[in-house]
């Protein structure tokens, strides 16, 4: 005898739920120009200014490809932080999150949908940067480097989704955009996403180790051999540890939220 729950967990059905939820989430994001336009345009605009117009010949001409990697990081962590940090916070205060929790849909679909739709934004931003770099910055990399850069950047969104989720669950919706911006922009600068970290004074180079964005940037730069040479494993390990911590904090906040 088939129960409803057996039907409901059957694979095609579950895939359908995830797909429709993701599509709805992505459409929602696209229909909010206040989210979509800055997310898509800011990284590209900054890259054009700092990577293509001003500094093109710096670092033996490697500036465009260097900054393509770091603005890639800047670009992808934006949607991750905002979708979770701001989006979840608003939906939590509106009661929409509670509503989702009550619905028969597995709550994981809600988060997966958010992650995937943020990643679709990520893909668009990365592709935009790649095209700008290739056409105007004379960036040329092996195909595996292009592919790996995109993969690393997309996978690198996960820690920031977790970080954003934690903020989103903790912060009031009115405060969330300000808080996220307060984290996002200074972290981006201090992690060397806007200007190469080598240009910073040594003390700032050392404090950059606090930020997950720095480690993701170093991993991405390592694909082109432009990292500061400390060792990929270090950055990977630190980033993984940070992810686990953020996930733990987010889970705890979620449980706390659910109990209320």
């Amino acid at each position: 005898m088939k129960t409803d729950s057996a039907l409901y967990t059957s694979k095609t059905h579950l895939f359908g739920i995830y797909y429709y939820e993701t599509r709805a989430e992505f459409l929602k994001a696209m229909r909010m120009p206040a989210f979509a336009i800055p997310s898509l345009l800011f990284p590209l605009m900054f890259y054009i200014f700092f990577g293509l117009i001003f500094n093109q010949s710096a670092m033996n001409g490697q500036m465009p490809s260097y900054l393509m990697a770091t603005y890639g990081v800047f670009g992808v962590i934006g949607p991750a932080l905002f979708s979770f940090g701001v989006g979840v916070s608003i939906e939590k205060d509106q009661g929409w999150l509670a509503m989702k929790q009550c619905s028969p849909m597995p709550i994981s679909a809600y988060f997966i949908a958010r992650i995937l739709s943020a990643m679709v934004f990520g893909v668009l931003i990365i592709l935009g940067l790649f095209l700008l770099g290739a056409i105007f910055g004379d960036v040329a990399m092996h195909t595996w480097q292009w592919l790996l850069t995109m993969t690393v950047l997309l996978a690198g969104m996960l820690p920031f989704c977790a970080l954003g989720l934690w903020f989103g669950l903790l912060a009031k919706s009115q405060a969330a955009p300000a808080i996220v911006n307060l984290i996002y922009l200074p972290m981006a600068f201090l992690s060397g996403l806007w200007l190469p970290i080598q240009l910073f004074p040594e003390i700032m180079q050392n404090t950059a180790w606090m930020f997950p964005a720095f480690h993701l940037a170093q991993l991405t730069l390592a694909i082109q051999g432009l990292d500061s040479g400390i060792g990929v494993l270090w950055h990977l390990t630190i980033l993984l540890v940070m992810t686990v911590i953020f996930l733990f904090l987010a889970t705890r906040a979620f449980r706390h939220q659910a109990e209320k």
Partner: protein, 635 residues
Amino acid sequence: MKGLIAMAAFILIIVGLLLALPTPPDVSSTDALNKQVISKQNRLSNNKSDDSQLSLNEKKINHQLIIKGASWFDGDTWHHDSPLIVIDGRVNFSSDFSEELSDLPVIDFSGKYIIPGLIDAHTHTWGSALQQAVRFGVTTELDMFTQPTFVTQAKQQQSDVADRQQADIFSSGILATSEGGHGTEYGINIPTIDSPEQALEFVKQRLAEGSDYIKIVYIQANKKTPFTSISRDTLNALVKAAHQMNVMAVVHTSDYESAYHAVSAGADGLVHVFHDQLISNDLLLLMKQKNTFVIPTLSVISSMFGKAGTNFILSNSPLQDRLTPAIINQLEQSFDAHTPSKNALNIAQKNVQLMHQAGIDILVGTDAPNPGTAHGVSIHNEMQLLQQAGMPVLSILKAATSLPGKYFPVAKRGQLIDGARADFLVLSKNPMQSINNTQFIEHVYKNGYPINVNHTEASNIKLPAKLADFKHDLSNQLTSNPFFSTSDDRFQGNSAANIKWQNIGCDTMGSALITGSIGQSFPYPWAGAMLTFSENMEIPVDLNADYKQLEFNVSGTPGQYRLLVFTQGLQRPAEINYTISPTDNTCQQISVVFEQHSSINWELVTGLAWVANKEHKAFEFMLDDIHFKAKTKKH
């Protein structure tokens, strides 16, 4: 289902786009372009030339000019009526530019003589050597032993034809020598080779580090020397392994017998000419038959046997203005271990003459920066010495420009032919009249860009009278780098040193406390405290400008100590002995009067160190109040 298709399509589009993004140019195709047609060098052809890694910059460089009026030498013949055209930093004769040419900037060098950038075929290159070399017209150095990391960095910079203001480099990387052999005495820990079985693995490791060719040090077993050497079997195996891996093997030998062994082994070249006896007809024939080339390095042989390294510079030569105090310092040095024997240089020169007459290729190499030689400038000395040895001017010019390309994978460097880098010298006097005229350099061009020949390394560092009082810490008044401990453990010795600040001092509070021990494993052991005047010890400070003596206070384990004075251009510091006498821990002031140590170049000091002598097993001393005494003003 619809969802699946949409997702698959989305992913396909992304992957398709990624595949369409630009990739670096294919190495093999551009390599073919740079391949040189060379009789013997088929095996070199798969040597990656650095030009094959066309950098992104290359596309953007638009550096072009037309040079008219000058007689110019392309490395083989002289041209008198045609212009020299540079497009994108390279010599260009390939297409008919008649229309486009009209827009290019024209430089009139009427009455001048242009020769390709010189190639020094035997150097040891690190630090700022490449910047120094290019100011004297050496645009490419063939290094014969340095740290592979330096070469890797330098090669990245020469991968394009941008305005670099420095010479290009090719290198053997680490040389092949035995444990305790020549090459191991410089304090750099290098891998050694002790049996023929290791040869192939050794060569593969060098190639993995980026070596362009293999350099082998070989001294035949009967020769008396302080060094060990690889065996003849290992020599044979190394040459064979290098050829198996399609790279050249060149051999350091200094006596006839060793050279004979190396040539028999099939070595591509000898990197010194031997100076113990005249060459036999037998060896001449063998070298001719095997097409072995020789880099005599007469400059270093002449310096070894007592000839001053500065004599060659002509009185009205523009090179005089380009000599920095550090370069002069270097040229005035001599080897201390060798007994002067004027005859050795004569034998060496006679051998060069006999080899040249027999049709054996001679290349121009200096072995800079060994004592008595310096990067760049010494190539003019070498060319003079080759002329003295009886080589005609045209042969010397070829030897210093195009001939290295017959053997080394230098990708058209040293020639002014289509596609070659625009590396050249503009001379005001005709070098065909006398090789000395290569000193009359008006301009050096590298990659089509003029080199700024005026050195700007003069330091205007103002030295404070009080260098360090150790009141609060180990800092000093001159630099932000504090005093640090130094010992031969960084050269694999077993001495040890430790420095810390302590709150007791000589007159005022605080001093540096140095503890340590002197081991026996390093030939010149040391341990103590050091202060560098600049980050890489590259900026000299003139102690003599305002001061006449250095004073400092010490107390501690009684015995002999040394003050080491590091000067620019010299690898080994000067040493000044001082004694800590057995007293009850009261401080003693040590004064070093500069005038009394006139052999030290006090104008070029880059660092100081206070170290314990050999006799100490364990020592402890305190260093305090380091200051200078001002010169008394004369009226």
